[in-house]
Each structure stands twice: as C-alpha cells, then as structure tokens.
C-alpha cells in the first residue's frame, strides 16, 4: 500500500464499484457514489462539532460541558437526535403552513448543494465546474431567501424581526465575502476550485505556496473568515438568533426535528464556508511541508477543517455579541474598503518583481489602511483599560 494508493483509495473504490454496473446506468451510479460520502461525512462532522462546541464553550466558561451520556459526553449527539425526533412538532395555527414546512428543507438543501464544488482530496471533487466558485456563492444566496421564508411564515413578531435582521446581515456581509475571494481568483486565474487548489500545491524550500502566506492572502483570509462568521450567523454576529434578546429569532416557532434541521443547515453552512476558505487560502488538500506529503490529502483537508472549526468555537466563547448597527457599520465602512484595497494590493503584488521590496510595499498597503479605518470606526472614543466592579 503505497502512499499514493491510500491517497486515492476512495477514487479507486468508486471506479472498481462502477465496473460492476452496466454502461447505461454508469452516470447515475457515479453521481450517487460521489454524493453519498458527503451525505455521510458532513452530518457526522456536525454531530462531532456539537459536542466539541458545547464542551469547548464549557471549558472556556470554566465549567464542564455535557459529560453524562458517554465517556466524556461524546455520545451526546445521539441523545440530541433522539430528543429532536420525538418532540411534538408545534406549528402556530396562524402560520403559513406550506412555507413554514419548506423553509428548513430549503436551508438544508442549499447547505448540501454547496459541497458539490469543494475538493476534499486529490481528484476528489463531486463535480469540477468551470465556474465553481460562482456556483458556491449563488447557492449561498438561496439561504437568505430560506431564512426570510422561515421568519415570515411563523407569523410572530420576534421571528419576523429576527428574519429581517438576519437577511440584512447576510446580504451586507455577502459583499466582503465575495470581494475577499476575488483576490484569489485574480491570483489563480480561474473560477474553478480544483484549479485554485492546484495553483497552491508547489513547495519552495519545503514551504508551501499557499495564498495565506502572502500579504494580500493573509488579509483576504482574515476578511473572509470574519464575513463567513457573519454569513452563518455565528457569534459574535448572532444577534438575529441572540438567545438573550429575541430568544431564537427566526426559528422561534420551530420545534423538534425542524429546529434540528435549522441547526444542521447553519452548521453545514459554516463547514462549507470554512472548507471554501481552506480551498481558497490554505491550499485545500495540500500538506504544509513537502516532507509531509505522504499523509493522504483528505486527512489534511479534514485536519484544517477541524482547526478552523476550533477557531470558530474559540471566537464564540471569547468575544461579546455585536449590536446591529455596529455590525452593519463594520460591514460597509470597514470590510468593504479593506477588501477593495486588498484587490489593489494583489494587483501590485502580481506586477512587482519578486523580492523583499514587494513584501514591504504590499504589507504596508494592507496594514496602514487597516489601522486608519479602525481608528475611524472608533468615532472619537478612546478605549481605556477595562475595570470591573464586583458586588461586595
């Protein structure tokens, strides 16, 4: 078993299984064989993430997370699944029945469709579209419509308010998300995700050619991650589903399995945007050093995905929630100018000859506007050392 065989084991298995199928049925069976591993792997990752998140948040907040169900609580998703399946499905009588039923289904469908263009390993992408990145963003825009459907059809003030806030936030942050990924399209010269990963697979002196190791790539990565956090309504951008303010926002009238479907759709969306960040900036399935390429490519992809999920959980436990006007102000006044300046920086990087001068110029072009824009966002207030007053 050479490393190449282990790396391509899924592709080899699929071709071997296809050999047993008559030629007329081969396209359909090939499509099914490509899609089923995604339908199995990512909900499993969702289950693992729910436990990781609750235990991680618990540890950050100086308490244990769930620790009853299995050893160290790792079987908690099974308990959650059984609970959500057996709860009564309460639908308000004044709600719009059809739209209320279709909204969680649309969210899950859109979340699963986004995985079709993400390369999980070498030669392991479901469909290699020429305009793959455009497909991803088009599917992401269907989620906003589903969120609005959920909020409006519940016929409740809290849910409508949460849906409006969520849609406003998602369409505001979609602009920096797309602009931050345009830099990568410029550098790789193609909209196809497979071509973008292959543009990052070289090594110079054992260091990889990932786009995150360039000034514009690093700024683009950070902007992309902030926009991705806002797109999936995760803390610190989770005012639309703020638990202490409008209880659950747009899915307040959903109970039981539909609530679990919303959860699944939100987390799958988070995984999809993290996987896109890995594809665009962190080199996809390529190993960090050239002497580590014997580890299979899909293991590198999932390792990077777990690191990004850990960072999401860490940020959720650490930063306080942003208010709605602060959130929108940051999107339009800080992130949009930064992404546009990032574009110019990437162009300068491309046209300057390689060397230390290009690093200095591009880093200055990214850091100086960041500092100036953040100062303008403070609106004249000065930040002092935080003092706490405890009750005596």
């Amino acid at each position: 078993m050479t490393p190449e065989t282990i790396d391509q084991i899924f592709v080899i298995t699929k071709h071997w299984l296809l050999g047993y199928v008559p030629a007329a049925l081969q396209p359909i069976v090939s499509a099914i064989l490509s899609v089923v591993p995604i339908l199995l792997a990512f909900p499993l990752l969702f289950a693992i993430t729910t436990v990781l998140e609750r235990k991680g948040l618990g540890r950050i907040q100086n308490r244990y997370g769930p620790n009853r169900v299995g050893p160290l609580g790792i079987l908690q998703p099974m308990a959650d699944g059984i609970k959500s399946l057996t709860k009564e499905d309460v639908v308000p009588r004044a709600a719009d029945q059809i739209v209320h039923f279709l909204a969680p289904i649309l969210i899950v469908i859109a979340a699963f469709l986004a995985y079709a263009v993400l390369p999980i390993g070498r030669n392991m992408v479901v469909v290699n579209l020429n305009a793959g990145l455009l497909y991803f963003f088009a599917i992401g825009s269907m989620v906003e419509l589903a969120v609005f459907m959920a909020g409006w059809s519940s016929h409740s003030k809290y849910s409508l308010l949460g849906a409006m806030r969520a849609v406003a936030q998602m369409i505001s942050y979609e602009v920096p998300l797309v602009l931050a990924s345009i830099v990568v399209i410029m550098a790789a010269g193609s909209l196809s995700t497979v071509a973008i990963v292959e543009a990052q697979t070289g090594y110079t002196y054992t260091f990889p050619h990932w786009f995150v190791f360039t000034p514009w790539g690093f700024a683009g990565f950070i902007l992309f991650m902030i926009a991705a956090t806002a797109e999936s309504n995760r803390s610190p951008f989770d005012l639309p589903e703020g638990e202490s303010e409008i209880i659950a926002g747009y899915y307040i009238e959903y109970s039981g399995f539909k609530f679990a479907l919303f959860f699944l759709g939100e987390y799958l969306g988070m995984f999809a945007t993290s996987a896109l960040a890995i594809t665009l900036f962190l080199g996809g399935w390529s190993a960090p050093f050239s002497w580590l390429t014997w580890i299979p490519s899909y293991l590198w992809f999932f390792a990077k995905l777990l690191v990004l999920i850990g960072i999401f959980i860490w940020i959720r436990g650490t930063l306080p929630r942003l208010r709605m006007d602060q959130l929108m102000g940051m999107a339009w006044k800080f992130m949009l100018p930064m992404t546009l300046l990032n574009l110019i920086t990437a162009g300068v990087w491309h046209f300057m000859p390689g060397g230390i001068l290009r690093w200095i110029v591009c880093t200055a072009m990214v850091v100086v506007p960041c500092i100036l824009l953040s100062r303008s966002m403070k609106q004249g207030k000065t930040l002092q050392v935080r003092t706490y007053r405890y009750a005596e």
């Binding site: 739209v99 088009a138 825009s141 419509l145 369409i171």
Partner: protein, 170 residues
C-alpha cells in the same frame, strides 16, 4: 437531453403560472423564484455556466429578496387575504385573451420561421468565463463603465434616501 429540457421547461412554466395565479403575494414571489431557478437551469443546459449561476446569484439572491421586502412592507404583506371580490367580466376576459393570443402568435411565427432545421443543432461555441472577461475588458469596456456609473448613481441615491434628515432647530 430533450427529457431534461422538458422537465425544466415544465418547471419554469408552472412556476411563473403559479406566480400569476396564487392568492397571497408572498407565495407569488416564491413561485416566481422557482421559475427563475428553472430559467437558470435552462441556461446551464445550453452550456452558459457564467450566465446561469449569475442568474441565481442576482435574481434569487437579490431581486427576490428585494421583492419580498417590498411586498412585506406594503399592503401585500397581510396574512389574511380576503377572497376575490368579483370575477372579471366576459369582455375583459375576451380582450385579455385576444392580446395574449396575438403576442403568442407573433413569437411563434418568429421562432418557427428563423430556425434552420428542426432536428440538428448547430455546434455551439463554448464560452468560458475567461472569454467573457476578455470581451468585457476589450470590446465592451464602454458599456461596462456606463453600467458601473449607473450602479454608483443608484447606490448614492439609496444612501441619500436612507439618511436621517437633519433635525430642525427648534
């Protein structure tokens, strides 16, 4: 391939017909969205990947949301719609039917008289995104810049409309 076209065409026609026939305006917008997605898939069937995905990104992601917001903020957002007040009179139906029939006849005549042959399809040039980009930057750069100017004017207009008015000094 023809079967796929039939299914997509049926989806588009049903979606847009439902958009005209449903009672609540929000349902109409959602049915129109289904029709627009069917249209995007027809673009994909023709091999125009960029146009197809941009159709979803722009129409479903922006125009449909704009339409639902607009309907929701006005009278159409009411959940309890009273039943249709009265049916249209027979002369209205006759006039509407005549106009629809005339438009359909003109379009059908234009399509049938211009198709070279019924069964063979000409070889389609494959247009990649690279070629679209190069065409936009070389041949069509003036329309691109004019559209950018138009969008900037719309953005400035939206910001001015949404800005809070200056308070009058009392």
């Amino acid at each position: 391939m023809f079967l796929v076209f039939l299914i997509l065409a049926a989806l588009t026609i049903l979606g847009t017909a439902a958009a005209m026939g449903l009672r609540k305006p929000i349902h109409c917008i959602l049915a129109l969205t289904v029709g627009l997605v069917g249209l995007a898939m027809l673009y994909l069937l023709l091999g125009a990947q960029f146009v197809g995905f941009t159709q979803i990104l722009v129409y479903v992601g922006a125009v449909a949301i704009l339409a639902v917001f607009a309907i929701m903020m006005t009278q159409g957002g009411k959940m309890n719609i009273e039943p249709h007040p009265e049916k249209p009179s027979s002369s209205t139906l006759l006039a509407g039917g005549a106009v629809a029939g005339a438009v359909f006849a003109v379009i059908a005549w234009a399509i049938l008289s211009n198709s070279p042959s019924g069964t063979t399809t000409p070889a389609q040039p494959s247009v990649t995104v690279v070629e679209i980009g190069q065409a936009l930057m070389h041949k069509y750069v003036l329309p691109l810049e004019i559209m950018a100017l138009l969008l900037t004017a719309a953005l400035i207009g939206a910001v001015i409309l949404a800005m809070p008015k200056e308070q009058e000094k009392s």
